[in-house]
């Protein structure tokens, strides 16, 4: 990048130009992609487990608290709304990445905050759904194997969202410092979009396919 560009974007640091690696890709970015590839395997295992048990809640007397399938309790309109919220957060995230590339820190902060708020709203929706299942439908984590697989899968995704929100808020705090690395925002964005992409799979496979 030319010196002129650095003068224009003095608050934004582009590490691609500062150091090179043998792959031509920064270690942080490559590391995040390798992590995401390994996370595909983790979520693949959880989704497969749910698929195997979703119609097999089991009827072992004394061990099964609720023999109903989890899918009998789904509230599709509500889950569709939370899915839309997460989809919208992917848009705000990518707008944030574009803003930091342009060197527009004000909009970066706006989009990071929006993404974190949308992520928190999604989590609120998930907590509401879980509470509803446990309190109104008597379907807890140990009620039957299908419910265990469901809570483990969607709960693990929820934990990923929590980590994502923490990363977004950290980026927001860093943006108020002297310099922010554009690629750091991009790497956080990669993680956030992956969380969205996993929900695209979960929403279809778990909630919509009968």
């Amino acid at each position: 990048m030319s010196d002129l560009a650095y003068e224009s974007l003095e608050d934004v640091e582009f590490p691609d130009d500062i150091h090179t690696t043998s792959t031509g890709i920064s270690n942080e970015k490559l590391g995040m992609w390798v992590y995401l590839a390994s996370d595909c395997l983790l979520f693949g295992g959880m989704i497969s487990t749910y698929l195997i048990y979703k119609n097999r809640p089991g009827e072992i007397a004394g061990l099964t608290g609720n023999t109903h399938k989890v899918s009998e309790y789904f509230d599709i309109p509500f889950t569709s709304m939370t899915s839309f919220i997460l989809l919208m957060s992917s848009l705000t995230m990518v707008l944030g990445v574009n803003a930091v590339i342009r060197g527009d820190l004000t909009r970066l902060r706006l989009w990071l905050t929006s993404t974190a708020v949308l992520g928190a709203l999604f989590l609120g929706g998930q907590i509401y759904e879980f509470t509803n299942f446990v309190v109104n439908d008597d379907l807890g984590f140990t009620s039957n194997v299908a419910s265990s697989a469901f809570y483990a899968l969607t709960g693990l995704h929820g934990v990923h969202v929590v980590v994502g929100v923490i990363m977004l808020l950290s980026m927001l705090a860093i943006s108020f410092g002297t310099r922010i690395r554009a690629e750091a925002v991009e790497v956080v964005g990669l993680y956030w979009h992956f969380v969205d992409i996993v929900w695209v799979l979960i929403f279809t496979i778990v909630y919509l396919i009968p």
Binding site: S2, G24, I25, W33, C40, G44, P57, S90, N98, R102
Partner: protein, 147 residues
């Protein structure tokens, strides 16, 4: 200013001179987003197809849902995650992980009788009548004859 930024990765020692951009403009991202919203709305509509068409639409809805899910997956991966514009090494890393995951879990689902027997609620229960032990000295199945 932005032109300088789009040339960030052009010094790659692996693929010298290869052109990388950093994705789409804000307006183009909005177009991708609205496409995703439309696909999601179509997905959600399948929930009411049985009532709307007054018929069992499962055989049509399931393939439609899977196709829409795959399209949405790749729209997010290619455009929002910049995979379309990034280094081939990153594409290979992600796709290899994904393909290995799909292969491993299709095998796992197959060995667990998912495709043929996923509706049996008694799958996890202990067997009601355990099979009789095998007798090596008898040609008939079941326990060894007395004496």
């Amino acid at each position: 200013m932005s032109a300088a930024v789009t040339e960030l990765d052009d010094d790659s020692p692996v693929n010298p001179g290869e052109h990388h951009t950093h994705g789409l403009s804000d307006g183009q991202y909005f177009k991708v987003f609205f496409l995703l919203v439309g696909l999601t709305a179509l997905e959600v509509s399948t929930y009411w197809w049985d009532d709307i068409f007054n018929a069992d639409t499962k055989k049509i809805a399931v393939p439609v849902l899977i196709i829409l899910m795959v399209i949405k997956f790749f729209l997010v991966a290619l455009y929002f995650m910049h995979l379309k514009f990034d280094s081939p090494l990153l594409k290979r890393t992600f796709y290899v992980g994904m393909i290995v995951a799909i292969f491993v879990y299709v095998v796992a689902l197959t060995v667990m009788n998912f495709w043929s027997d996923s509706g049996t609620t008694e799958f996890n229960n202990p067997p009601i009548d355990p099979p009789a032990p095998f007798c090596a000295t008898s040609s008939k199945p079941g326990p060894c004859p007395a004496g």
